[in-house]
Amino acid sequence: MVSNIVLPILQIVVIIGLSPLVKGFINKIEARLQCRRGASLFQPYYNLIKLLRKDAVVSETASWIFTATPYVTFVSALIIALLVPVLSSQVPLNFTGDVILIIYSFALGRFFLALSSLDTGSAFGGMGGSREMTVSSMAEPAMMLSILTISLTAGSTNLSDITNTLLNNSILLMNPSLSLAFAALAIVIIAEAGRIPVDNPFTHLELTMIHEGMILEFSGRYLALIEWASSMKLLLLLTILVNTSLPWGIARGLTFSGLVISFGLYLAKIGFFAFLIAILESSFAKLRLFRVPNLLGTSFILAILAIISFYVVS
Amino acid sequence: MEQPIIVNSRVIDILAVLMLMSTIILVGTSRLKTCIWAYAFRSFLLTVASGLIAYFSGLHHIYITTGISLLLKVIFLPGLLFYIVNKTNIKKEIESFISYTLSLLLSCGIILIAYYATLSIIQFENTFMRHCLPVSFAITLIGFFAMITRKKAITQVLGLVAMEDGLFFAALSTSYGMPLIVELGLFFDVLVSVIIMGIYVYRIKESFDTIDTAFLSELRE
């Protein structure tokens, strides 16, 4: 019973708490790589808190969709936080859903976000929404294929079970199909999270912006919720990748020491991936929008190869 | 009854060949009136043949058909056709889609086909049948052929009566004519159909100012 109450709270706290930090960390590393000093590691927190304290300006054209969107996005991210193994391989809401529910919960947030982008009648919003949907649609098959490959290897679509299986039979991780699937998944995560080379999160140029275009009209509390949700999304995607591809060290039960060790390792693993992202972002330019399908196509091919190697080779 | 038929089949054969030749005139001449004369002549031959068969076979009802044939086919119908030709004041030429030489050649082919077609039947028959059936079939086909190749409406009527002559002859030569009541019906039909055709030849001439049926091609797809 304790596990059923403590673990969810713990996970939510960790995800909510850490997600701005990951953003800050990436920014910091990038600044360093660009020989700048950069803002504080905690700058995202300051931003969010400031935004949360402010009132909001809402377009007179906008409807209730606009108001509902931040909550929907944020809550869908929270739900996902309960479905992903973070510190313990045991997922709090194990019975509630699986990785497919996770993918589609992301879709729920995205759906509302894209709708709200059209709500204000601003052309920028529509442009952002259109591009966001393009990229995410293109990413969907690769994502699903790689997830399915992982699920087939592990014999489950439940992330908790996947983690457990991979943890117990680490030899499975040596499977070429899994490596290919993880590679595909990594590319998809970059796209889904809206990072360079797919989207540039730092810009407000109409030619390049995707996610920023959609949320252009949001302000105050709404903006905070959306920003926070998007950083949670990044962290959650990374967590999925981390805890399936590198499951070692994750707590199996619910002991305090296990959790502490797991937390430490988790930080390290996330930090490592965040670092990789930062390097990636510093070394690549953003792709033209119509080059993005090529990238995602690559990911799709990798995923297909993964599934073929799973069935044919092994 | 067998003996006289075999003996006299030669006479019937000669009549048959003459009828065939008078039919070939239909495709081989360019004069309309010659054709009508040929028709009258052929009908006459047919009547003679009919009379002979009636005499040889001793079937009395054939005399009746012979009589009607004489009246109708030798006298009335040619007369009617002459009347129509004069009344409608048409050109005496027969217009054909193909040349007369070719028509004649094709007629030869048709006669061969007629023989070939009836071959399987006549080999089982008596001698009397053996010549008359192919000839009568050939007359029918040549009549048909004339209807196809000749443009004028009146020549089509001539072709049709030639076909009918052929069939009468076939009936006579194969089985001593049809039952009397059927024969009467046939004569009635021939009479009425030629009269109706005559009326239409007249009407077509009135409306189209020609009886060239090649002009009758408004109803098409």
Binding site: - | T140, P179, E218
Partner: protein, 491 residues
């Protein structure tokens, strides 16, 4: 005397029509006459039905189930058509299309036509049957050319020439049959009677009978509208007044088909069913296929319907050719169904012509608006004639096809599959051409309303039969159809 009376009634009616004065009285005489014919025929047929067959006047007349069906169709459609004529011809007469005298002639010829067709069906002697079939041509030539304009004359000329030629060829078949019968019986006399022929058919010389059937099929086939001898049919059907077209399509073709079937039975008995069945199938399929392009691309709606008749006659021939229990049953049912549905369709065509004064489909739009009743009936008739369920023709087509498939013969299965494709294509042509006419906004300013009550009555009369057979075949009819199968099969 019981059978000849059936023939006498139309003659009396015809004479009465020509003798009376005025334009209204012949109309009513005609309706009454055809109604009496119908009623008497039902009475007669019931008699025959209870006795299975009836021979009259020393074997001069003979009627069995096959004749029942055909006479029933003749009198039924005849009555509907005379009812329809009463409306149609009166409207035309009032429009000044022809004189009063001509109108009387019309009724005279109409009933003579009925008489000749009834004659075909009740006669025992195949020679006289030939005479009667030729007489149907002769009695209708003037009806085809009734309006006496150039096109009508052309159609009439083609009609009489082509049909006479065809029927003349059939005479050759009759002569050959006669010959073989007289050699088989060894006597000369009444041997052309169908009843006699049937008893000795197995003694006939097979080669002779094969050739004879070929001539009969091509000869009567010309009259029945089997391709490629059908060429007169679209012209005559489209040029004749609509009530006559209805009789042509619905009845006349069936009468010729009746002749073919009689010979088919004899031939089957003599040389086995395969020969004549194959011929029927081949000509049937050719007819169905030939009609397709003309139905797909067509301007004139009456021609469209005429080509559909070719298709259906082909289908009946096919059904007879398949020769199984249900296919013969289906083919005969199809004969009835086609007769009522096609006549209905031609009645609709007549109404359209009266309304729009054109036979071009291009100029007609929004029939459902301008003449709602005709429109609705036209829809039903089109659906029925194309074999759309649940209407009657679907049922008969389905039976024929199902039987052909169940024969298990790969050749026939291919045949039938081809047939199904053909039927679908014909449906396409019909729907495409006719529905464009029925729906849409009317192009010209055409006043709304039906032209005549008589026409509607006639249409409703036939519609009743279409609908009945769609859902229910009365036991009596069913019995008659199975009797026909027995007759065909008994060979």
């Amino acid at each position: 005397m019981i059978i000849p009376l059936l023939l006498i009634i139309p003659i009396i009616t015809a004479v009465a029509c020509i003798l009376t004065k005025g334009h209204a009285i012949p109309k009513y005489i005609s309706i009454a006459g055809s109604f009496i014919t119908l009623a008497y025929n039902i009475f007669l047929n019931y008699n025959i039905y209870t006795h299975h067959s009836l021979i009259g006047l020393n074997g001069f007349f003979y009627m069995d189930a096959l004749s029942i069906l055909t006479t029933q169709i003749v009198t039924l459609v005849g009555f509907a058509s005379s009812l329809y004529s009463a409306g149609y011809m009166t409207v035309e007469f009032n429009a000044g299309e022809f004189t009063e005298k001509k109108l009387r002639w019309y009724y005279f010829l109409f009933h003579m036509f009925i008489f000749t067709m009834l004659m075909v069906c009740v006669i025992n002697n195949l020679g006289i049957m030939w005479v009667a079939i030729e007489a149907t041509t002769l009695s209708t030539t003037f009806l085809v050319g009734f309006y006496n304009k150039k096109q009508h004359q052309e159609a009439a000329w083609k009609y009489i020439i082509i049909c006479t030629v065809g029927i003349t060829l059939a005479l050759f078949g009759v002569i050959l049959t006669y010959h073989s019968s007289s050699s088989a019986l060894g006597e000369i006399g009444y041997t052309l009677n169908w009843t006699n022929l049937l008893t000795v058919a197995d003694k006939f010389e097979p080669h002779l009978i094969k050739l004879a059937f070929l001539f009969i099929l091509i000869g009567y086939g010309t009259k029945a509208g089997l391709a490629p001898m059908h060429t007169w049919l679209p012209d005559a059907h489209s040029q004749a007044p609509s009530p006559i077209s209805a009789l042509f399509s619905g009845v006349l073709l069936n009468c010729s088909m009746y002749g073919i079937i009689r010979y088919h039975i004899i031939t089957s008995k003599c040389v086995g069913a395969d020969y004549s069945c194959t011929l029927l199938m081949v000509f049937g399929l050719i007819s169905v296929i030939v009609s397709i392009p003309f139905i797909l691309v067509q301007r004139d709606y009456k021609r469209l319907f005429a080509f559909s008749s070719i298709e259906h006659i082909g289908f009946i021939a096919l059904g007879m050719g398949f020769g199984g229990m249900y296919s013969v049953y289906g083919a005969e049912l199809h004969t009835f169904n086609h007769a009522v549905a096609k006549s209905l369709l031609f009645f609709c065509a007549g109404n359209l012509f009266l309304k729009y004064k054109t036979r071009e489909m291009e100029g007609i739009r929004g029939v459902i608006k301008t003449t709602p009743i005709t429109g609705v009936i036209l829809i039903i008739a089109v659906l029925a004639i194309t074999g759309t369920p649940p209407f009657n023709i679907f049922v008969s087509e389905f039976m024929v096809l199902a039987d052909s498939f169940s024969s298990g013969n790969a050749f026939i299965i291919v045949f039938s599959s081809l047939l199904v494709v053909c039927i679908a294509l014909i449906f396409v042509g019909f729907v495409y051409n006719v529905f464009k006419m029925i729906f849409g906004a009317p192009v010209q300013a055409i006043p709304t309303g039906e032209v005549s009550k008589f026409t509607i009555a006639a249409m409703c009369f036939l519609l009743f039969f279409v609908m009945i057979i769609s859902f229910y075949v009365p036991p009596l009819l069913r019995e008659i159809l199975s009797n026909i199968y027995d007759i065909v099969r008994n060979a």
